[in-house]
């Protein structure tokens, strides 16, 4: 297996899918001449030309709409949002056009499109540029939402997203682009949408996470192991569809659960996870499911306040100990 960065794994996925299918094209701000704001599209303009790697003006609603239209007539656009914060301007096209077209056309017109870009907080980008939007899009019937945490999952899920016949919201992480990891060689590394993965097996408490909080949960599991607690780390990978079977199997085994996510708590991803658990396996629970989320405030710019507002390892460890009645 090759060791790649998350960035290069995404680049491979784009390149392979563009080689595989002439209908696939990439469009967004700075994706062509500048090789992408985060260099995810490096080299693609040279290889595929301006017809398939298209720079746009700073006009998210416009190029999102062009993408939806292209998808409706048979192309397979990948629309890069420089960050998901900017996609707020395009949300009408994503939610009202892309997500609903198949339903409102009576199944006649699908929208095979991928909207992708980094989400969540990085470092000191302040309140308007530090937001996790998974739960916003996961709320919408008609959208699939994935948020990979590793280079292998990034590549495999992006390839699956591009091949999917319906719109997929693909949320990356600015802080993840330099993350290195093993990626299976060969062109057919696909990770199915809707499948969670146990990133660390354990028996006493399940730490549910996705995207950047997978690293948080893994570190927390290490600290818990040093304290004699055997934690399992379940990476959702896909937020919608949610892999309920994997989630329930893990919690039915451990009887205790903590959900760790970047976003705010209210109506967040964890709220759906908790709902699923209590509804399906109430009798397996030995403690209420706890959640570790961003504090219920706009993300502070101040470095110390930002750190305090984020879901982190100490908060995760404390929550795990609480559901184990160790506090």
């Amino acid at each position: 297996m090759a060791v790649l960065t998350y960035r290069d794994a995404l680049n491979q996925a784009l390149r392979e899918e563009m080689q595989r299918d002439d209908r696939v094209f990439l469009m967004g701000e700075e994706v062509a001449e500048y090789n992408g704001a985060y260099k995810v599209s490096r080299g693609l303009l040279d290889e595929f030309g301006a017809r398939r790697v298209v720079d746009t003006p700073i006009a998210e609603l416009g190029f999102a709409g062009i993408g939806v239209g292209a998808a409706m007539v048979g192309l397979r656009p990948v629309i890069e949002m420089m960050t998901w914060n900017f996609a707020l301007l395009a949300i009408d096209q994503i939610v009202n056009s892309a997500a609903k077209m198949r339903y409102m056309s009576g199944g006649q017109v699908g929208v095979p499109i991928v909207f992708r870009g980094p989400g969540g907080a990085a470092l000191q980008l302040a309140a308007q540029h530090s937001q996790a939007f998974e739960s916003w899009y996961a709320h919408i019937p008609g959208l699939k939402v994935v948020a990979p945490a590793t280079p292998a999952d990034a590549k495999g899920l992006l390839k699956s997203a591009i091949r999917d016949d319906d719109p997929v919201v693909f949320i990356e992480g600015e802080m993840l682009y330099n993350l290195k990891g093993e990626v299976p060689d060969g062109g057919e590394h696909l990770v199915p949408i809707g499948r969670a993965e146990v990133k660390r097996a354990g028996g006493e408490v399940t730490l549910v996470c996705h995207s950047k909080t997978v690293a948080v949960a893994l570190k927390a599991a290490e600290e818990l192991a040093a304290q004699g607690v055997d934690a399992e780390v379940l990476d959702l990978r896909s937020i919608r569809p949610l892999d309920e079977a994997a989630l329930l199997a893990s919690v039915a085994k451990t009887h205790r659960c903590v959900v760790v996510e970047e976003g705010w708590a209210f109506a967040g991803v964890g709220a759906q996870v908790v709902d699923t658990i209590q509804r399906e396996i109430f009798d397996e629970l030995d403690a209420p499911v706890l959640r570790v989320t961003q504090a219920d405030v706009p993300m502070p710019y101040n470095k110390h306040l930002e750190k305090a507002a984020k879901a982190d390892v100490p908060k995760t460890v404390a929550a795990a100990r609480k559901v184990l009645y160790l506090e």
Partner: protein
């Protein structure tokens, strides 16, 4: 740290105990684990051991007295420690003033409470509070008295869903368990530490599962056909729909084998019952369908074979259990049965030695009984009644010869074992006994 010594539930069904003899006197220094007294339970004479070290400051119950489970019987404390709070204050000895449970069924609660009290109820004084932490290395086991799950006002018991499920499966009454979670919530670990409740004396209520820590079994959900069979049979014949299978076994070779072993010297002496037990265990290994418990909504097929042997005692009978009998040699089985039967007659069996059988044997051969039926001990699904070995004329190869023959009758719970299933088991058993070399094969 002063510690109360309470009358503990020393058997699953114990409601009260008679303190036969104090083994430690007031003023004597005791260590945790020392035997403080001998207690007669409903089943055996057991030892009451100190849960903490110190000086036995006060005996609160004279030798010969019978007191309910959970009654404080003594106080262990430092030599000069003030124990007035434990002696004078009624609330410090919850069991002492408590009336004997009005009904037998309430015994389970009392027993559960007593176990918890005996294990964890301690009173820390200021100067020894620090030491308390050391005495309990697992931080989970708080030394502080746990809040009882039942509020004083008789409100609902707070328990986690998992704790409720486990309690229901084990037949443990949550009300008797002190919860260690927030607000006294009973959580998994509290239920798992609680003793399993006793079965109701003879009521129609289903017998609770005898849960063992061992997971050497597989639970199979009931199929529709098994559900229907169970329902119809129970309507027809009673709570345990039993049928009987009898087979006659030629014991000539078993007789010879026993004689040959006997010739090896005193060590080689085994009883026919030992040989039968070994053969039953071996046959059960081959017929797991007969090595099972009826559990009302499922059938528990045991991977391990634990054979109970009915032993007559002075005023009844008790069934010591040879665990993993299929994996033991005849010599091991023989020694174990001899030891346990002896102690059973002295009423000195520990509870774990007479519970948990997956199948039982009752042998009345020594009383010249040629044939009888035995009553199933639920939740086991079968019991084998063994008659005497009798010389009788038998037709073989067209000739009438005199052979040593033995009749065995298997009682089968039809909800678990069907006729053909039981018959196949008996055929294997007969083959093994008629070819005893197969037992070591």
């Amino acid at each position: 740290m002063a510690t109360k010594v309470v009358m503990e539930a020393l058997s699953p069904t114990m409601e009260e105990g008679r303190l036969i003899e104090w083994k430690k006197q007031e003023g004597e220094t005791v260590a945790a684990g020392d035997v403080l007294a001998e207690v007669e339970t409903d089943k055996a004479v057991m030892e009451l051991v100190a849960r903490a070290g110190g000086v036995l400051r006060k005996q609160l119950v004279p030798a010969g007295a019978t007191v309910p489970v959970a009654t404080t019987v003594a106080v262990i404390a430092g030599k000069d420690e003030d124990i007035a709070a434990l002696l004078g204050n009624g609330s410090a000895a919850p069991g002492a003033g408590a009336a004997k449970p009005a009904q037998g069924a309430a015994g389970a609660e009392t027993a559960a409470a007593a176990e918890t009290a005996g294990a964890a109820e301690t009173v820390a004084t200021a100067e020894t509070a620090a030491a308390a932490g050391k005495a309990h290395p697992a931080p989970v086991v708080a030394a502080a008295p746990a809040a009882p799950a039942t509020p004083a006002d008789g409100g609902r018991v707070k328990a986690s869903p998992l704790a409720r499920r486990i309690a229901a499966e084990r037949g443990v009454d949550l009300a008797g368990i002190a919860g260690s979670g927030p607000g006294g919530r009973v959580v998994q670990r509290d239920v798992e530490r609680a003793p399993v409740a006793a079965a109701p004396a003879a009521g129609a209520a289903p017998r609770p599962a005898r849960a063992l820590p061992d997971e050497g079994y597989a639970d199979e959900p009931l199929t529709q056909i098994r559900k229907t069979i169970a329902k119809r049979l129970v309507q027809s014949i009673g709570p345990v729909p039993t049928f009987y299978l009898t087979a006659e076994v030629d014991m000539e070779r078993a007789w010879d084998a026993r004689e040959a072993l006997k010739a090896l010297g005193p060590e080689g002496k085994v009883s026919f019952n030992d040989i039968i037990l070994k053969a039953v265990a071996t046959a059960l290994r081959q017929h797991p369908a007969c090595n099972a418990w009826w559990q009302d909504d499922h059938i528990r097929y045991w991977r391990d074979v634990h054979v109970g042997v009915a032993v007559a005692v002075e005023d009844g009978l008790i069934t010591p259990v040879v665990r993993h009998a299929d994996r033991k040699t005849l010599r091991e089985i023989s020694a174990e049965v001899r030891d346990m039967a002896g102690r059973a007659r002295e009423r000195r069996l520990r509870p774990e030695e007479y519970t948990g059988a997956t199948f039982s044997i009752s042998n009345l051969g020594m009383y010249d009984i040629s044939h009888f039926t035995a009553i199933i001990n639920p939740p086991e699904a079968g019991i084998l009644a063994v008659g005497g070995i009798i010389e009788k004329p038998v037709a073989a190869d067209g000739q009438v010869t005199i052979r040593r023959r033995m009749q065995v009758t298997m009682s089968c719970d039809h909800r678990v074992i069907d006729g053909a299933t039981g018959a196949e088991f008996l055929r294997t058993l007969k083959t093994l006994l008629e070819n005893p070399l197969a037992l070591v094969w």
